[in-house]
Amino acid sequence: MKKTGAQILCESLVKEGVEVIFGILGGAVLPIYDTFPQYPQLRHILVRHEQGAAHAADGYARVTHKAGVCIATSGPGATNLVTGIANAYMDSAPLVAITGQVATPVIGKDAFQETDITGITIPIVKHNYLVTDVAELAKTVKEAFHIAQTGRPGPVLIDIPRDVQQAQKDFVYPDKLDLPGYRVVSRGHPAQIKKAAKLINEAEQPVIIAGRGIIISQAYDGFKEFAEKAQIPVAHTLLGLSSFPGNHILDLGMMGMHGTPCANMAVQNADLLIAIGMRFDDRATGNTKEFAPHARVIHIDIDPAEIGKNIPTEVPVVGDIKNVLTALNEQIERKEHVAWLSQIEQWRYGHPSLEIRQSDELLPQYIIQQIYEATQGDALVVTGVGQNQMWAARYFVYTKPNSLISAGGLGPMGFELPAAMGVKVGCPEEVVWCVAGDGGFQMTIQELATLTQENIAVKIAIINNGYLGMVRQWQELFYGRRYVDTKLWNPDFVKIAEAYDIPGLRVTRREEVIPAIQKAMEYPGAFLIDFLIEPEENIYPIVPPGESLARFFEPSKPEVLEGKL
């Protein structure tokens, strides 16, 4: 029996196991939406802006380990997806973005709401398609999901002209793929693994740099065994947090610009770096010329193009991290590294910037710490971008695998709310905390309506300092305290939440923090807390841009610093 292109699309999505689609309709996707009632197994979540659809699908993908799906109409609908697609690309999240396109006869005629979205997205997708023949549609969807979800995951966009959605064709879902140019190396080369094991066994001051690849590969157990067997301390990239228990004796926390002194000092003094599923981003490495000057480098990654891209590598191992670590664990020796680990313990303590001041001020570090205490780490934390993100990265202890969902590479403010929405939809049983900045929150604030309409119980903590806080911090430190256009007039966020039928609380004092968090946790639905924090609180330490990781800066005001984290 013949089916329309729209039905073929839905049938194919069902075949791929899709359960949720985030999107907004418009003229060029009307045939698809008109078909949705025939497929009740596909839950459509109507968002309020296409950027929200892409971030939600991204958040959903990161916690479910399967492709998130978003859909938008042609032209402005498609261009509004761009930020979300770019973000998924930078952070290797599997995303399938479906866009409507004007009908094939008018493509290239500058028709109403026509945009060359395949052209626009070439640099920010793993692959994309413009489907001009309904006979190609099922095959295209199959390829798109395969490409998005395998190897190094990433976004794939499928642009479907309106007449292709309406054209008719028999539905046959192909059982084979024809992708001669797409290969995934799954197992590491045995000779490379042997070389890597030799370096690891000989090292005296080794450090692991753990990236998000460990989480993508779901290699938590093999990774823990690896670090423990060889007694190698673990520094994390931002997105590598929650790949290894944050309360483990070998855990050093986050490295990089706002990393912990012990992570940065360990990396800079290492004689061997074992970089796993990470890409030597500049925020993690600082000045690459002065990066880890004494270290030989082993780099394990599934993407061969990451090897040697930013940092010269002595022993590359290309493959799926889970497989590579399983093989490595058989060849590495049990070690103790007593001297090295005791040296690292000395770097761990005595840094005032790590400690939360005893103060009457409402401090963001304390808020994050109390969210951790209230949840005991059994929560998924979704952050915005900026100071709120760094405080969330540093003061929550990530003991649960894959419990930090953050936009690392692109850094789009406004990621937090829609992404948290997608995370909660993907993991309805989990407690989901959205840690937002007051600036970023207003970039996607309209998704509060989606939370209410779809009954998505996200707990929102706005870390409200009345500034674009990270930029203000840079103005303070690097631009002579000239706060040009970083001060924000903000609306009453509690009233805004109420208008969206979401209860909320404003917290201005330290003693209100714990009761407010408790109240949010006890409430069955979405809940918002507006924390009015000390406006000029900074995140420290900071490695100034372009400096070596060893040159982290922290304020020396020990008289106001009491108590340890």
Partner: protein, 163 residues
């Protein structure tokens, strides 16, 4: 490391937009290409692309690996160090008068090039060879006055029976 010319040969799917993806990659990653030539190959549905890239070997290896990541690119080899045949074609329209015509034809003969068009004030020369040969011919013809030049960029294959 020193910058040198590298010859990359790629098999790419013959599909709409593939050249755009490749060009976009070069631009986005700030890779410096000197020439790019693409045409049919022995495989139906696949084209062979030859590109000359300038950079040190680490940069060129990055180019090669980034190209291989493109879904429509099947295989990329850096054949610079291999024994290869590399050729380029040029069409050169040169000013010619009754007094210079025979001198130009002599030069063309020495280079085993061909005259493919004759007009009252000009000759059009077709020449094949490596870049040095084409550059030398162009240098000699420049004295007569060059009206137009069109060059294809390098195409290359490795020598021997292996593919």
């Amino acid at each position: 490391m020193t910058n040198t010319k590298h010859t990359l040969v790629a098999l790419v799917e013959d599909k709409p937009g593939v050249l755009n993806r490749i060009a976009s990659l070069f631009r986005r990653r700030s890779f410096n290409i000197q020439s790019l030539a693409v045409g049919g190959s022995e495989h139906p549905g696949l084209s062979r692309m030859t590109t000359v890239v300038v950079g040190d070997s680490a940069q060129v290896e990055q180019v090669r690996k980034q190209l291989e990541k493109l879904i429509n690119v099947v295989k990329v080899s850096d054949i610079t160090e291999e024994d290869m045949v590399a050729r380029e074609l040029a069409l050169i329209k040169v000013k010619a008068t009754a007094s210079t015509r025979s001198e130009i034809m002599q030069i063309v003969d020495i280079f085993r090039a061909n005259i493919v068009d004759v007009a009252p004030g000009s000759l059009t020369v077709e020449v094949t060879g490596d870049e040095d040969k084409l550059d030398s011919l162009l240098g000699l013809l420049r004295d007569f006055g060059i009206k137009e030049v069109s060059r294809t960029g390098r195409i290359a294959l490795t020598r021997g029976s292996s593919s």
